[in-house]
């Protein structure tokens, strides 16, 4: 379990909004660029790491009750995305790290994925 404030220190993030919510705790995280995968596999108390910066990422966090969003690879969302996240009390952070490294660091500190395994697709 990590507080968002600790996540920020580990990933050297810039907090884009939600500074008042940095005491929130996360137990799992999810790295994804396809939002309905996020909505299938996440549970509550999850942090989303993503390379997408559009408004749908905030929508996904809202309907899925996610604890916050980290944009990887220095990707900066537009002001309308930040405004919506503010209105919905969803903290947004930005890290210059790659998706792989950002997830790896959180994993080192005990954060795990939301699902251990997904049974292989036999299509």
């Amino acid at each position: 379990m990590l507080k968002l404030a600790e996540v920020n220190a580990l990933l050297c993030t810039e907090v884009l909004c939600g500074q008042e919510n940095m005491e929130r705790e996360i137990v799992t995280a999810c790295g994804a660029d396809l939002m309905s995968d996020v909505l299938v596999y996440t549970k509550e108390k999850t942090l989303l790491l993503t390379g997408l910066t559009n408004i749908q990422v905030v929508r996904t966090a809202e309907v899925g009750d996610l604890m916050g969003i980290i944009f990887v690879r220095g990707k900066r969302p537009g002001p309308e995305v930040i405004e919506m996240a503010k209105a919905k009390s969803i903290p947004l952070m930005l890290t210059e790290l790659s998706m792989f490294d950002a997830c790896g660091i959180l994993h080192d500190y005990g954060i795990r994925g939301c699902v251990e395994r997904v049974p292989r697709n036999e299509l």
């Binding site: 396809l34 309905s36 309907v63 299509l123």
Partner: protein
Amino acid sequence: MTMEYGGVWNGCLEMNSRQVIQLEFFLEAGDFSTAGEASSQIKRILQQIGVKAETARRIAIGAYEAEMNVIIHSLGGKMRVAILPDRTDISVEDNGPGIADVKLAMQEGYSTAPDHIRDMGFGAGMGLPNMARCSDEFSITSEVGVGTKIRMVIHHP
């Protein structure tokens, strides 16, 4: 997206056993600026009337996936929601083009989303199966050239 309140909801978000909140949302094809707003409003109302967070989350996810499918894959449609004390009942209807093989569309990972839609974060092929998973009762019917109808009922424990 536009919304209309109907039914006997009196604006007071305390429900007694006979009240029902009815909502209707008109969903426009390709309108990504308000995409998700319907589900967001549904979720807010569920929270205000004290539906358990876990239940409100399932309802919001099901509604969101249905709403996005209409906006992305259809020519437009509407979503009707009835929030009752013991359940939420969501009906989504669109104006086509319909789904030729519903069984295939229901499979995890099946998607016809083009690249520009995938770039927006959609197209995992998980929306329909997740709607079914989030619902206590789920049905889908579709006719090519006519449209697709989805119904989801989620009980409030």
